[in-house]
Symmetry: C2
Amino acid sequence: MDVFEIIAEPTRRAMLDMLAQGERTAGEIGGAFPSLTQPAVSRHLKVLRDSGLVEVRSAAQQRIYTLRPERLAEIDLWLDRYRRFWNGRLNALEGHLARIHDNSKPTSKRKPKQ
Amino acid sequence: MDVFEIIAEPTRRAMLDMLAQGERTAGEIGGAFPSLTQPAVSRHLKVLRDSGLVEVRSAAQQRIYTLRPERLAEIDLWLDRYRRFWNGRLNALEGHLARIHDNSKPTSKRKPKQ
DNA sequence: GAATTATATAAGCCAAAAGTTATATTTGCT
DNA sequence: AGCAAATATAACTTTTGGCTTATATAATTC
């Protein structure tokens, strides 16, 4: 599953945020979402597990979850090409270059298709 | 709409990527997605418009789209708390601190709920 | 002003995602 | 062995998002 879709879910983001503080048991994580039933929590955890964003290990009946954030770098990488826009590095020249892009004909020349 | 959900859609991400190169007309954008019908493209553009990630202006019958990436900073901000993990700044001490988090009782003390 | 081009909106359909209840699995305790 | 605790899975329902076809709007050209 695509990491962008996984973090699109606010509950899952919040779960990752918890785990960024340190390991947590499934029960502790679930406790932070009183509005969700236990299976709902468990399913989100499964999504995170399957995506590789978290890891589990057992301690008695409990499952201890650990953050495994490396795949978040994919998002960071995608953002790279936009960062310049809010970095102040987008100066007048860059703005201008972006505006007068390669395609000099505003009227489309592509296949009609419609 | 939540910016995380908006960029979860691969087509919309690709559209933003196009606009990162410079302005494009709706037709040019649609041309880049031959598998999509015109209304499908138009709907994605509407989502991007409503979210504030792009802006439009008219030139005759054409609509010219411009990137407006400021809201992507929300994602960048969220990533901040994870960046240290792949920045190599997560050293042995930090890893240790994360592991022995505040909650000293592995056995949950929260309300049963289940 | 009628036809054409460019784009948007409406309405309905379908698939995927998330939630629910019920049940299974695993481990610990007495 | 039997029961309780912690968590996962199954089966089903509901919601939502994106797609499609059909139609509307707006500017352009003949």
